[in-house]
Amino acid sequence: MLPTRAPGVRCLIINGKTPRRSWLPVDNLDLELPSGVVAGFVGPNGAGKTTTMAMLLGLVRPTAGSGTVLGGSIAEPAAYLHRVGALIESPAFYPALSGTENLRVFATVAGHPTAAIPELLDLVGLDGRGDDRYRSYSRGMKQRLGIAATLLGDPELLILDEPANGLDPQGVQDMRSLIGRLAGTGRTVLESSHDLSELEQVCDWLVLLDTGRSLYQGPTRALLDGVVAGLAVVPEHAEDLPELRDLLVADDHQVVLQDDRLVVQDAATGIDSVAAAINRAAFASGMVLVELSPLRTTLEDRYLAMVHGTAP
């Protein structure tokens, strides 16, 4: 699907075979992110997510290809990196310096003002800990400082490699909320994660990658809408479940009992007609249905189906 807004990232990149490397970490990846989206970057380990991010940041050079990030050529990262905040792989800071001192050093490297540092520490939940040495931080605190560092200079594009890594449940929720707020300010965010439920909640754009190739790029809704995992059927009286199940099996449906409901698994397509037929059959047998609803497929289901080649 073509984006409707000007691209934040638009590039065709290849990180191909070299004399020392016989595989293709990124194989003809035609990546396009509209400005202002929160894009989830999904793929199994070794799919090329971090390599792609590293190429966008100038850390790894594509063996071929071209493209732009925020309008600047990826061959000249200096043209756009001052407008990009990145947390790649794990946060890296000087252990002997405090959180505040580390942010001051990195702000100086990039020529960003340092006045916003207290506000950034507050934003990521490190207020009151800025003067503590980095080596005394927990893993979650290090991750939070890494996020604060990406926000130095008020960047237009955030590239975050598993930003919730190491955070406790509250931290994950805070991170989700923070990314949502950042996206609300018009920034473009490219976030990789293995936590697909988190991405499903946060991202309005998805890039699915496998073995260096793009499986899907586009709006999250377009990937998940119209694809159902099954049909949930609940009779008025729980004691009718066995009879209703026998009825559905007799009609050649694949049915499983989940808690206090039946799930018709072969109803992924033609769901309206299947639902109508089930409703009629149940009514004819004297049963009243209180629920007859499509089960929305999750990103995880969809992703696994695409990676394993079983997606419709």
Partner: protein, 262 residues
């Protein structure tokens, strides 16, 4: 480049670092002065390689003689510090983090190097001044006259000693940066540095005297000592320049060609 130098100074110029450096300089001044004045020979050729003579200590430049002689023994220490500092940038991921903000690799490594060398230049000056003060205190106890120490010739000798020591420190720093960039892992870079500048060079020169003129560690030692019997100061300066330029070229090629990953 200026931003990188400022960032490196921000990182290094902290109370703890300043106190440690000051303590190191004070310790060096005292130890070098006491050792040099105690081991000064009554007569003989004034070769800093084997200590010095009472005549050299009493002459112009005698006030900083202990500094120059003692500095010959700390070059390797400087080498180790630069390897640890810069290889730590690679293995700790901070070099990568810096590059996501300033992608000019040449500027980044030069900024780190120059920032650290600025601090080293101050430390060398403090150590030289400290050694002069210590020498002024120790000389009367050894019956060494200090009248010539305040002549113009003494000032020139002091400046020359400062320049040669700083030149040697710069050379060690560049070699340290090269090993750091090539190996990227602190223990590995340190191991190779130790092995090369320690046993390999020093054992080889015992049977191959030309090694004094071609091995980088030997050349730098000659420079810091203001020239040796094997390598005069002029040749030492030229060789240091060539060695340092070659090491810098290797560093830049390695940095520009390699991907920066963990």
């Amino acid at each position: 480049m200026i931003r990188m130098i400022r960032a490196q100074l921000l990182r290094l110029v902290r109370r703890r670092t300043v106190l440690l450096t000051a303590a190191g300089c004070a310790l060096f001044s005292v130890v070098a002065t006491l050792t040099v004045f105690s081991t000064a020979q009554a007569s003989g050729s004034p070769s800093r390689q084997a200590g010095t003579t009472r005549a050299a200590l009493a002459g112009a430049g005698g006030g900083t003689e202990a500094f120059a002689v003692g500095a010959a023994f700390v070059g390797f220490f400087v080498f180790v510090i630069f390897i640890a500092l810069l290889a730590g940038e690679f293995s700790g991921g901070t070099f990568r983090a810096v590059l996501t903000r300033n992608p000019h690799r040449l500027q980044v490594i030069l900024g780190m190097l120059i920032g650290t060398l600025l601090l080293a230049a101050v430390a060398v000056a403090v150590a030289e001044a400290g050694t002069l003060v210590a020498s002024l205190l120790v000389a009367p106890t050894k019956d060494i006259p200090t009248a010539d120490w305040f002549s113009a010739g003494s000032l020139v000798a002091g400046l020359r000693d400062y320049a040669t020591v700083l030149g040697g420190v710069t050379g060690w720093a560049v070699f340290g940066a090269t090993l750091a960039a090539v190996f990227r892992i602190v223990p590995l870079a340190l191991g190779v540095g130790f092995a090369w500048a320690g046993p390999i060079e020093n054992i080889t020169v015992q049977s191959w005297a030309t090694g004094y003129r071609v091995f980088p560690g030997q050349v730098l030692a000659s420079l810091i000592q203001g020239g040796t019997a094997e390598l005069a100061i002029g040749r030492a300066v030229l060789s240091t320049f060539l060695h340092t330029a070659a090491a810098a070229a290797i560093t830049l090629v390695v940095l520009s060609r390699r991907d920066v990953t963990t």
